[in-house]
Symmetry: C2
Amino acid sequence: MRITNLKLTPVAVPDPPLRNSWGVHAPYALRIILELETDEGVTGLSEANGGAALLGELVAAGKAAEGETPWHLERLRVKLRGLPRAWSALEVACLDACARSIGRPVYDLLGGLVRPRVPFASYLFYKYEGENDRWGDVNTPEAMVGEARRFREEYGFTTHKLKGGVLPPDEEVETMRLLREAFPHDRLRIDPNAIWSVETSIRVAKALEPLDIEYLEDPTHGLAGMAAVARQTHIPLSTNMVVNDMADLPMAVEMRAVQVILCDHHYWGGLTGCKRLASVCESFHLGLSMHSNNHLGITLAAMVHLAATTPHLIYACDTHYPWQEEDVIVGGKLRFEDGSLTPPAGPGLGVELDRDQLAKLHENFQRMATRNRDDSAEMLKRDPYYLPFRPRW
Amino acid sequence: MRITNLKLTPVAVPDPPLRNSWGVHAPYALRIILELETDEGVTGLSEANGGAALLGELVAAGKAAEGETPWHLERLRVKLRGLPRAWSALEVACLDACARSIGRPVYDLLGGLVRPRVPFASYLFYKYEGENDRWGDVNTPEAMVGEARRFREEYGFTTHKLKGGVLPPDEEVETMRLLREAFPHDRLRIDPNAIWSVETSIRVAKALEPLDIEYLEDPTHGLAGMAAVARQTHIPLSTNMVVNDMADLPMAVEMRAVQVILCDHHYWGGLTGCKRLASVCESFHLGLSMHSNNHLGITLAAMVHLAATTPHLIYACDTHYPWQEEDVIVGGKLRFEDGSLTPPAGPGLGVELDRDQLAKLHENFQRMATRNRDDSAEMLKRDPYYLPFRPRW
């Protein structure tokens, strides 16, 4: 089986005005759909972040992969070392193609099932009200409890992650306090995307300690900052910002800067890359959780296959999926049950492209003026003096 | 595909009287041949070290694996955590069965080929003369150069590992000096199996430094000892003794005790376990080489599949294989060309059992009085006062 072509389709997916430390989500989230074609008629699917730079990288990676066999992942990994994000996306398509060609689920190529259901977490965002937005305005601690309650009721999530770094820290602590009060037995986490100073991070950590927080994600910027915070709190620090490549691990370990690493197959070298990360985490007593950007059902399926085959991943996975109403897969959006997803049984990732939906979301993309994500530029439309300070508090 | 039975056949393979820091090899080396039977008629092969304890573990592991699918390696790894050596052997049989069932080579389940040929190293032993022994008595530096020359000519090896810790250190340094003189462009390594004190290790390292040694393997005992030696020499220290489990890695890294880890699928959790180790080594800037005990062609095939798919393994692999004249695989012993082996193209490991040879080597085993390896007991037959001191020098 040889790779003959990599077909790339940029899409734009309606997204509510979710707030974060950079600004606010634009009305459309960008993704790129990959179809890896082979000379045996098998096609592997994958999904990448959007943006002009990555699209260019993917074109280059597709050319470099032509004539290669998708089974030779290690060879392709070495060959595409200079294009790590493109390689990450391509790897999933290779695994999907290989697994389809033998009629087995992708998880079997990653070590098989270790859990029948993969638990996910609510991704709680402060937000403005958007067009056709069923979530409304959420910009107070009280409103956030309402949002969490709705996630809990609609999806069954019992772990809740607050995207912090939006309101002043004391208001976010109050939000966490109200969440703890409302859901005394659920697991809570918060992620201000490194917008707090070390001093503020320590102050917030002390305020959160009595609330039994699962982990505090990227309170502050840089390994030295994270290490300084870690020395002052027993709450584990997690990150997807200061450790996002295998090369970052030795210094993170040496500095005791983080306790939990968030994997993301989009930049850790695909699913096998995340398995490599899991090996290090397992060996070095680091926790492992899973990060999410805006994504569609192909990525969600890949996340579930990965989580279902990784013993060390004992945290509920993050996902933006409930925030999107549209998808590109046949049968429409995958459905959570009791906060979890069952790994699609395959073959491959177990999802197929809905051509009509793909065309529709590609048309959205064609109509767009900008082709790159810029949450700060989007925020400038609401606040002409907006600047994404770091630290802001 | 479900596992129905694990068939175990202990064998004894004629072995010359090779010397090491524990004593001397007995006339037979012990191995256990595994046949993992499935309900689809596919059988996976593997090969384990001998010994009554491991045989017992393998019986237990085989029972625990009944009814499981061999694709679910992660599940089996967790389930058999208490029997790591048995799991290591079983894992190879699972991979062989899975790869056979889809008609592909085992290396494709490990990430595909990254090198078409896998280089091996001479394993140079001081030795007594044995029965039907074509190598004769080798107990001086000069005789060792002759042994190395023969390995080089017969097999094409251009990396040579001296099993040290046998003659007084100065004589082993002299051996290395003569080897360097005889083969100025070859790669040399030495492994005294931790029988030197820290002080002797440093003294020897200083004497070896001008000889351009690839690495010095386990000069002394324990992480603290290795770290003390590492601080005093630029020769990389390698080990298969102080780091032989993923749990050993964090402290080894923290203490900067070793620079090269020797993988061995027989105790690192099989081939996927060695891939896990490779991930850590790649990330933490540790070198990766490959260890060998006495073994037959099934293990050799597994070693080649692993090495062929692991980019980070850039050292020639150790192997005892040339010391054995007999094998259990169809077609007789695998043949080195230019010091290398080409990965068998499969399906599976690409080797089949020769039933007559298996029966013959099993008969050897049946005739044996002892069922465990004991090089020191064997040495007592030659020297009634022998004791395996550590350190001896």
